[in-house]
Each structure stands twice: as structure tokens, then as C-alpha cells.
């Protein structure tokens, strides 16, 4: 145990993480050592004085100053005009999805039933593929166009209704 180590323990003070016996030996060394002794006394006196230092008294006008400052802030806040939040304009579209689905279904049904060119069960040749028709398919161009328009209208109504629904995890709260 040398003086450098003991002075390190003195500076560490209550934070010296050593066994009790080791610290006792260090203090015993310090009391007999001309180098460590003054350091130990200085550290002890310094610690005592630091703990005994008086707390400075608060300024007499501290309370009045804090209250005046607070009142000034509150006054400035009250004088400031309240912010105006403009509601964001939303373009509300009428919900036509249901009507579109109904109209599309009606048009497609009329196109199928009115033409009757291809009956259910007939073989339909599409380019190189021959398939058996499940429903009646109009063979003429106006009938096909009417059927396509009806199906498109039905699909539009279907997806429009799905897109307007909120997902279940969304929340309107901020």
C-alpha cells in the first residue's frame, strides 16, 4: 500500500469500493504518513465544511417578481386573439355505389335475356379455346357492349362501396 493509492482512497471518500479492512489499513497508514496525513485531514475538513455550508437566503423580492412575471405572461396570453381553426372543406360525394350496382345488374341482365343468341350449355369458340357457356351470351356487338357496360357499372358500384368503408383499425380520435 503506497501513498498514491491511499490518497486515491481519500479522494474517493465514501465511494471507495474496498473491503473495510483495506480501508482501515489505509487510514492507519495516512495517520502515520507525512504525505497522506495532511491530505486526509484536508479531505475530512473540506467534507465537513461543504456539508455545513449555509444555504443562501432567497431574495426578498423573489415572490413578488415571480408573481409579476406570471401575471405578465397571463396578460399577454389573454390579450392574444384566439387562433381560428378553419374546418377543412370536404367535398361530399353522394353515395351512388348502391344505385350503380343495381343499375349495372339490371343492364347486364337485360343484355343477356334480350339477346339469347348463345344459350346456356352452348359451345362458344373464343379464338383457339372452346368453352361451354354457363349463361346466355349475346352474339351481336350492341348486345355485347350493353353487357360490358352493365358489368362495368356493377363493378364500379361494388368497388365504390368497398372503398368508402373505413378499415376496422382506424380511429377518428386524435
Amino acid at each position: 500500500m503506497n501513498c498514491r493509492h491511499v490518497i486515491g482512497l481519500i479522494d474517493a471518500g465514501p465511494f471507495a469500493d474496498y473491503p473495510r479492512q483495506h480501508l482501515d489499513a489505509a487510514w492507519a497508514h495516512a495517520r502515520q504518513c507525512h504525505t497522506c496525513g495532511p491530505a486526509l485531514e484536508a479531505a475530512a475538513a473540506m467534507t465537513d465544511r461543504l456539508r455545513a455550508l449555509p444555504r443562501p437566503a432567497l431574495p426578498r423580492d423573489l415572490t413578488a417578481g415571480v408573481l409579476a412575471h406570471t401575471a405578465a405572461i397571463e396578460g399577454a396570453r389573454a390579450a392574444r386573439p384566439a387562433p381560428v381553426f378553419e374546418a377543412k372543406r370536404r367535398v361530399v360525394m353522394p353515395d351512388v355505389s348502391g344505385w350503380a350496382m343495381v343499375a349495372g345488374a339490371v343492364v347486364a341482365t337485360v343484355a343477356i335475356t334480350a339477346s339469347g343468341d348463345v344459350a346456356p350449355g352452348d359451345i362458344v369458340s373464343l379464338d383457339r379455346v372452346a368453352v361451354r357457356s354457363v349463361v346466355a351470351i349475346p352474339a351481336m356487338t350492341p348486345g355485347l357492349l350493353t353487357l360490358a357496360a352493365g358489368l362495368a357499372l356493377y363493378a364500379f358500384g361494388l368497388f365504390a362501396s368497398l372503398s368508402t368503408q373505413r378499415p376496422p383499425y382506424s380511429s377518428t380520435s386524435p
Binding site: G13, M46, T47, L50, R51, R55
Partner: protein
């Protein structure tokens, strides 16, 4: 009465010089010393308030104690505070 007044003056001057020594410490060491010795906060509480580990606070206090002790030993302040 005069002796009491003189002792008070000496004590005030002694405290003022100790405060000067503390004020001359680096910022971290000064903060740790004030919170630990004057405010009597625990090392763990100081560490929580400053957002550092307890080991950092212990290291700051260790260095502060060494700086103060060296300053006290080098000046006559040690003789004054030992009285």
C-alpha cells in the same frame, strides 16, 4: 459582542472562499458537489436527474474532491477551515 461579530465575519469569509473554490470547479464536478453536499441528494437521485449513471456521478465527485483538496492544501484555506 465584538468577538461574536468577528467570528461571524470570519465564518462568512471562510464560507465565501469555499464557495469560490466550488465555483471554480468544472461544470459537471460543481453540479455534482452542490447536489450531493449542499442539497444532500443521493448519488442515484443525482444520476437520475442528470441522465447519467451512478458511476459517472461518483467519478465526478471523486475528481471534485481531489481538486478541492489540492486547492485547499495549496492555499491557506486549509488552515482556515481546520480551525
Amino acid at each position: 459582542v465584538e468577538a461574536v461579530g468577528l467570528n461571524t465575519l470570519i465564518a462568512d469569509e471562510r464560507d465565501r472562499r469555499i464557495w469560490q473554490a466550488v465555483a471554480a470547479l468544472p461544470s459537471g464536478e460543481r453540479t455534482a458537489v452542490i447536489l450531493y453536499y449542499r442539497e444532500e441528494m443521493a448519488v442515484r437521485d443525482i444520476a437520475g436527474a442528470l441522465g447519467v449513471t451512478s458511476g459517472t456521478i461518483k467519478a465526478l465527485l471523486f475528481r471534485a474532491r481531489r481538486h478541492l483538496r489540492q486547492r485547499f492544501e495549496a492555499s491557506d484555506l486549509f488552515q482556515e477551515i481546520s480551525r
